[in-house]
Symmetry: C2
Subunit: 539 residues, 2 copies
């Protein structure tokens, strides 16, 4: 494995009256001998003074830190003694959250991990409103001076740089390091976040024909972005494919290993959008659709991200009607996250408290006496709208009861229908069946906490042997880690970008038909879900 930053021992003969090679040339020659590589070696201007000083004071020997870039080697630093540790930070730069790990670049070991809210949220919760904020001044001017930077864009950039610096400080402290001991940074984010991070105009990203300003960022060093890690740390930004196909997904594909697999696999990443990729080492096809919100806390009133107080697991015993739940931190419940919601809706379906359309049944009409008691206790009705009480005032956080309302349930059904429709549309595009898949990799917070069993019950994921499913957590972050550690992973990203085909689902009529058919639990065609009990009928 070839990490993005190397340390190599360098030894040179000292100068004398008969060897008056300049210090810088001496260092360059010694490095060329050590590297024995035909790639160019650059010593940037700002490094000449510090690097040659240590080289001379250490008797013309020491340890060179080299950034290992596609364009060639760049001398990052020169140290008298071998660095104890070369640390690199991998960052998933999400629209709502930043999540990062600090790695030992030699061993690949995780030194620290952490996350932080993306404080850009105060300028707009979603990508569109941030683009508007960043480019707001534009409305007044048709042509901009070439060097004009929208003040909004600058502000958003500074906010994200500060957040990264804060997170870097936390990770470094946790690992017992100084922030400037972080010698590399890889960043995986969607196309807009990448533009905002670099302070590059995102104006056309959300305007037809949706052209980003860049897909491949240039070689960057931390000081150019005023990042508070080591100034010469390479900042490697995951390449994107287009405005709606960002580096975070390229990172996920990398992390899933599907682009290196001979057999076809599927990657499902549910964030704000559901993004799905199908393929192998020969071809990759991808699409995205709005299937996520109900699972991400964006729609359900009591929905929330997986965090403190989030109910992540729910079960209702189909005989005793005993209900159990668990929050992520075992604290009093504040709401329900995606996986809890799926568990809950699956349980409501299996205990026949909702019908196949996902509508609450009427407790008054219930025939089963045990169930009737439970339903009367939990299903409430206000203004003609029913809701399900998950946690009452006496057990919940700050006495605010946790409810699942019909409106939330409806959104959940739409999301699961959209998800299944996306998956089936995609697989049919290439003439395959779900059973042809070697693996379905489920990424995201959704993938980490979800029980595929329950998602299958709802008809959200195809009814395949459970062993086909593999959760990899934050795949965007996993990919960012891989590129820090391995040159081959960095090259693989280029290959993924160039081999991917993107299909637009919103304009696909086949998709709309499939979506309608998927709006029942588990599906209009229940033969597609042989392992799921079918109750039939609606109220």
């Amino acid at each position: 494995m070839k990490p993005i930053v190397y340390s190599v021992r360098v030894e040179a003969a000292p100068p004398g009256l008969h060897d008056n090679t300049a210090d810088l040339d001496r260092l360059q020659q010694a490095l060329a001998t050590t590297l024995a590589d035909d790639r160019s070696l650059t010593i940037p201007f700002d490094r000449i003074v510090p690097v040659t000083r240590v080289f001379r004071e250490s008797g013309f020997s020491g340890y060179a830190l080299l950034n290992n870039l596609e364009q060639g080697w760049v001398l990052a630093d020169f140290l008298a003694s071998r660095p104890q540790l070369l640390a690199g930070m991998a960052l998933d730069l999400g629209t709502t959250h930043l999540e990062a790990t600090l790695l030992d670049l030699d061993s690949g070991k995780t030194l620290a991990e952490g996350n932080l809210e993306n404080t850009q949220i105060s300028f707009g919760a979603d990508i569109l409103s941030r683009i508007h904020y960043a480019t707001g001044k534009r409305r007044q001017q048709k042509q901009l001076a070439p060097d004009f930077l929208d003040p909004g864009l600058y502000e958003l950039q500074q906010v994200i740089v500060s957040a990264i610096n804060k997170l870097a400080g936390q990770l470094a402290a946790e690992a017992g390091l100084q922030p400037d001991e972080i010698r590399a940074l890889s960043v995986s984010g969607n196309t807009t976040m990448a533009h905002l991070f670099l302070g590059v105009d995102p104006y056309h990203i959300c305007r037809e024909p949706y052209i980003p300003l860049f897909n491949r960022a240039p070689a960057l060093e931390a000081a150019q972005l005023k990042l508070a890690i080591h100034g010469a740390a390479p900042v490697w930004i995951m390449p994107s494919v287009g405005s709606y196909f960002g580096g975070d997904l390229i990172s996920g594909i990398l992390a899933s290993g599907m682009a290196q697999s001979e057999k076809t696999r599927m990657l499902i990443d549910v964030g704000t959008n559901a993004e799905v990729v199908l393929g192998n080492n020969d071809w990759l096809i991808a699409c995205a659709g709005a299937a996520g919100p109900a699972l991400e806390g964006g729609v359900a009133r009591m929905g929330m991200r997986a965090g403190p107080g989030a109910i992540e697991y729910v079960s209702i015993d189909p005989a005793s009607y005993e209900m159990k739940y668990r929050t992520i931190d075992n604290g009093p419940p504040r709401g329900i996250c995606g996986s809890g919601l799926i568990d809950l809706v699956a349980a409501l379906y299996l205990t026949q408290m909702i019908d196949i359309r996902g509508k609450f049944r009427d407790p008054e009409k219930e025939q089963d006496p045990v169930r009737a008691v439970f339903m009367k206790e939990h299903i409430q009705e206000h203004g003609g709208q029913r809701s399900f009480l998950v946690a009452g005032k006496n057990e919940s956080y700050q006495g605010r009861e946790v409810l699942l309302e019909q409106i939330d349930l409806d959104a959940m059904i739409r999301s699961k229908a959209a998800m299944y429709a996306i998956l089936t549309t995609l697989i049919s595009q290439v003439g395959l069946e779900f059973s042809d898949l070697e693996e379905i990799t489920v990424a995201g917070a959704f993938g980490r906490h979800i029980n595929p069993e329950r998602a299958i019950t709802l008809g959200m994921l195809p009814d395949l042997p459970r062993s086909v499913y593999r959760a990899i957590g934050n795949s965007s972050l996993r990919g960012a880690e891989q590129v820090l550690l391995d040159e081959a992973a960095r090259r693989a990203c280029e290959k993924i970008v160039s081999s991917i085909t993107y299909i637009e689902l919103n304009v696909n009529q086949e998709f709309m038909i499939r979506f309608s058919g998927s709006r029942f639990i588990p599906h209009t065609d229940s033969s597609l879900f042989p392992s799921v009990p079918s109750f039939g009928g609606m109220e």
Copy 2:
């Protein structure tokens, strides 16, 4: 000819729903097509926003300005319309003076020229005292923090950057341009000046074994040095060979054309030192020695640089003893510059007012009545030391008479002896005779104003047909101009650096013998100077 900055027309198809290439990729692809070159193309991070903005606003077409570097192409700018003019500044960064020209990079035409005192003089007149000033703080600390910049060094750098900016402003104004329309800068200076200009530690330049920190500067852009020309202008610094063999001399060799000549030539550059190079397109041998001071205003009390009030020409009619002189600006005389001094001493010798050792004869013992009158009028004696009155109080600047004292004459004789000894030592090293030389190129202010006839009279230059001599003025500046205009000249510098052999004269015993033999006018062995009248005898 391939200048260091190019403008090329770029045209790309506009994006659409079926061609969603990112703006930056689109520009890069269009440039790659236009350049049709296998060298890499870099678009630095800070250029992405302005360059892509103009590209888009001009309908995905326009003019790219490219820095044409050895390492590859670098996009410097993108303009909607063809630039009227691409201007580049060539600079001779001398220890005492800066001299520069502004060139039209397409035609090679000179747009403006100018010069300025090197204001570093107030920190030390010579290189050694400036190195001491720059690195003075070092005395207190044995080891320096890698990023420690001596405050003195910083100060000297700022002074030189300000001077360059001032000169750039003058040149631009003269050419009717803004300073930021200067799109390239080439700098030719000695090794210490190059270090001070870049703010790079010159400490070891003057300490055995005299190792510079760099000979080849890295690729630089003007903004990195806070130069007030265009920020993306490439700053090309003439490579040096060692502490005492700077880029100014490499530049001179380039300008002389000797490194491209099949026949052997000699280059003589008299500045603070006399620097002499011998060779052809196959080999080059060089040496330097202290032959200059008397000719540069460094020793003679009334000596001065070629400037306002400097007597640059003197004659004394050998029959009538009428003396004529001319100052550079035709103003009242303030002193004598190198060429005036050579004329004067040659005239004093030819009129037999000094003997072959360069000692004033006694006016009282003069037999020729006409000469006796003249000598009594002009040769004065104070405290046993004779001096020659060149210009009396009534005709000189601010009534200060211009005198040539015996002590000045002695220094002059030592200088001319050193010069001839250097030339003969060098030519004998390679087993050649002066008559084998196709050309002797005389550079520097010395070369521009000197009359080779008079220098031969003194025995300073070899007695060859006068047509062998060619004056090229400021060769350091001429070379700096060539590298701006021609890629081949930039490559030639590399070849010169690698093919040159430097010999130390100070440790050469043969040199000392030749020096002693040269301390007569024209020489101890007058047969070496058949064209010079020989008077013989001393007082």
